[in-house]
Amino acid sequence: MTVNDTEQPDEVLDCLGQRCPLPVIALARRLPQLPVGAVVRVLADDPAAAVDIPAWCRMRGQEFLGVTTVDGSPGYTVRRTG
């Protein structure tokens, strides 16, 4: 999955070097503080983030937009839908 290039995130959370579940926790803390429709990109190099960020979106009813590479690291893009 790749993000549409026109979809620029409103905010980037730098979780590089953090072990899971920390990137998921950072996303869970920040996303509800943003307006519905806001797009957040989580930069996370822990391989578990690839599984856990989409799973969190499913459990919390948020929209997982995809994964893209930012400066060689994975960035997971999420839109607040509720």
Binding site: R19, C20, P21, V24, P47, A48, V51, D52, A55, M59
Partner: protein
């Protein structure tokens, strides 16, 4: 003396509750008896021609016959290996070597045991090919993709785990075998978690099968490799005459005798015992999501192994959870990345697309009591709540 003479040392007595039979079940009492007897009686090399060797050979033959009877196969189809892992390696690499002319592609599910996946890596490193077939969110094989993969040209062997060792989902072995039969591809089934809960006869259609004695209450260090008559299988290692040329080295006879004794004992109670454990697992599957907030129950709730249940707790560190449970006496396993030596999440959870952190696998066995399960269910919510409070993630 480790302690000063007048110091008061207080111990908190924690009763230990072992809930990791999917890794290794406690030794069955019958296995212990058989092991001790065979240490006295079965130490000689069964291949030699003196009386001690004849006695050892009798024990080996009897163990093979008993195992064959439980599995519903011919004794000469069974080879005892040094572990379930060794049997899985032999099944994959020997099966591929035997079908080299048909093709060099191994088709396997995405949720095979790491022993099979490492054998697949070995095969591809040597120039072979491997195709991984996906599973759905419940961990069920995508049968359509499987049928397409096995009927593609150049497939030498297909490999399917009978039921997931991590999440318990039972795989559609009969349907997968039918697809293989139609394509003329031999099927290897890794039955390590299913035997003895599922009679081997129900796992129809396979050409090779492997299992592991310490999953059923036998000692560690005994695996089974079963190769059906008429199946081509070529040793992937130098020739050795033992075990029909399929498992090199002197067999660990006392352990094999113990493994066969345990298998016969557990197979005799399997139906009753599986029903008892399955009811306990149902209770866990109902109680955990009702008492622990933000938990994802993992795996198929119906088509599942009777003794195994897996769940993931949102925002909880899997390693911290294992240690916290261990301090209260509970031994469980986890597929979370922080608990693995590679620091990668379990490939099974990854393939299913389910939450991988805060993951716990509970697997029951014949010594597991209702009281133990009740105690686990009573203590788990507090353990998870404490960890979430410490991490400051309550209410997220």
């Amino acid at each position: 003396m480790p302690y000063p003479r007048h110091a008061t040392v207080s111990f908190v007595v924690v009763t230990s509750v072992y809930l990791d039979s999917a890794t290794a079940a406690p030794l069955h009492p019958v296995a212990r008896q058989a092991l001790l007897a065979a240490l006295d009686d079965g130490w000689a090399d069964p291949a030699k021609l003196y009386s001690q060797a004849r006695r050892a050979r009798q024990l080996l033959d009897a163990a093979r016959a008993a195992t064959a009877e439980v599995l519903g196969v011919r004794p000469d189809e069974i080879s005892f290996t040094s572990s379930g892992t060794a049997a899985a390696h032999a099944a994959v690499l020997g099966g591929l070597a035997g079908h080299r002319r048909a093709g060099d592609t191994l088709v396997h599910s995405a949720i095979e045991h790491s022993a099979v996946l490492y054998a697949a890596q070995w095969h591809t490193a040597a120039g072979g090919r491997a195709v991984s077939v996906p599973v759905d969110r419940l961990g069920r094989l995508d049968l359509e993709a499987w049928s397409a993969a096995v009927s593609a040209p150049g497939v030498g062997l297909a490999s399917l785990i009978s039921a997931s060792h991590e999440v318990g989902t039972v795989q559609p072995v009969a349907a997968a075998a039918a697809a293989c039969a139609e394509a003329g591809v031999p099927l290897y089934v890794d039955a390590a978690q299913s035997i003895p809960h599922t009679p081997a006869q129900e796992l129809a259609g396979w050409s090779t099968l492997s299992a592991s004695a310490h999953k059923w209450g036998g000692p560690p260090g005994v695996g089974l490799l079963v190769v059906r008559k008429g199946t081509r299988w070529t040793p992937p290692y130098p020739h050795d005459e033992r075990e029909a040329g399929r498992a090199p080295g002197a067999p660990n006879l006392p352990a094999i005798v113990a493994a066969a004794a345990a298998l016969r004992a557990v197979a005799a109670d399997a139906a009753v015992e599986s029903a008892r454990l399955s009811a306990l697992v149902d209770r866990i599957r109902a109680a955990v999501p009702a008492t622990v907030p933000d938990v994802e129950m993992v795996g198929d709730p119906v088509a599942r192994l009777p003794h195994l249940v897996t769940f993931s707790c949102l925002y909880v560190d899997g390693e911290a959870l294992l240690h916290a449970l261990d301090r209260r006496g509970f031994a469980v396993s986890s597929g979370s990345s922080c608990t693995s030596s590679t620091l990668r999440p379990s490939h099974v959870l990854e393939a299913m697309g389910v939450l991988s952190h805060g993951n716990v696998r509970v697997s029951l066995h014949r010594d597991t009591t209702e009281a133990e399960v009740k105690r686990f269910l009573a203590e788990l919510p507090g353990v998870v709540a404490d960890l979430r409070a410490e991490a400051g993630v309550v209410g997220l």
